[in-house]
């Protein structure tokens, strides 16, 4: 069965430090991978996606993600965290169907 895993329920990081939010996937065929962010009482907002090509994908708000086929991972990164980055982050995948498979989400808390 296809799945997306986010192994950490919560990640805490100090402001100004680099952050990583982890995601691994298990899908048939070529993976199409996405990151979304959700602020309190809001809908999800698209951050970035990997379809094909360069393994390092750059997205909104200074975020980037690295696609690693051998490790089946797509970790979200940012060189310097901001307090305003505190939110719920979702990794998602699809492999050519009309349906997304979402991870369970990781709550990022950036401490001032």
């Amino acid at each position: 069965a296809q799945s997306v895993a986010q192994p950490e329920d919560q990640v805490n990081v100090a402001e100004g430090n680099p952050l990583t939010v982890k995601c691994t996937y298990s899908v048939s065929g070529n993976p199409y991978l996405f990151w979304y962010v959700q602020y309190p009482n809001r809908g999800l907002q698209f951050l970035l996606k990997y379809i094909t090509g360069d393994n390092l994908v750059k997205g909104s708000y200074g975020f980037e993600a690295e696609f690693n086929k051998s490790q089946t991972s797509f970790h979200l990164k940012k060189p310097s965290a901001l307090v305003s980055d505190s939110a719920l982050y979702f990794c998602a995948s699809t492999s050519g169907t009309y349906k997304y498979i979402f991870g369970t989400g990781t709550r990022l808390k950036v401490l001032a």
Partner: protein, 114 residues
């Protein structure tokens, strides 16, 4: 631009009541989706539509119905509400099929069934 608009934002239902969650998008997107979000569970797909007049079931369709008479609107109907349907519901749309196009989400409808 309004994007994806959901109404109502909050609703409390009694067991056995019915209601419709409204969703409208003004981006001329063909693809529309309904998800429910439960704590610690991520998002689960209820129904989706690839165009006007075409709908299909997602992972958790039981207890729900949809229709897509226009490109803009994709209402979700709850019949005979049950406490298990207490959740936050999100409508989303995309211009392209999901394997290349990102989703645009509404702000959600929080439903409580008592």
């Amino acid at each position: 631009n309004a994007g994806v608009t959901q109404t109502p934002k909050f609703r409390i239902l009694k067991i056995g009541q019915s209601m419709t969650l409204q969703c409208a998008q003004d981006m001329n997107h063909n693809y529309m989706y309904w998800y429910r979000q439960d704590p610690g569970m991520g998002l689960k797909l209820i129904y989706y539509s690839v165009g006007a007049g075409i709908t299909d079931k997602g992972e958790v369709p039981n207890g729900y119905n949809v229709s897509r008479s226009t490109t803009e609107d994709f209402p979700l109907r709850l019949e005979l509400a049950a406490p298990s349907q207490t959740s936050v519901y999100f409508c989303a749309s995309s211009r392209l099929a999901v394997n290349t196009g990102e989703l645009f989400f509404g702000e959600g409808s929080r439903l409580t069934v008592l």
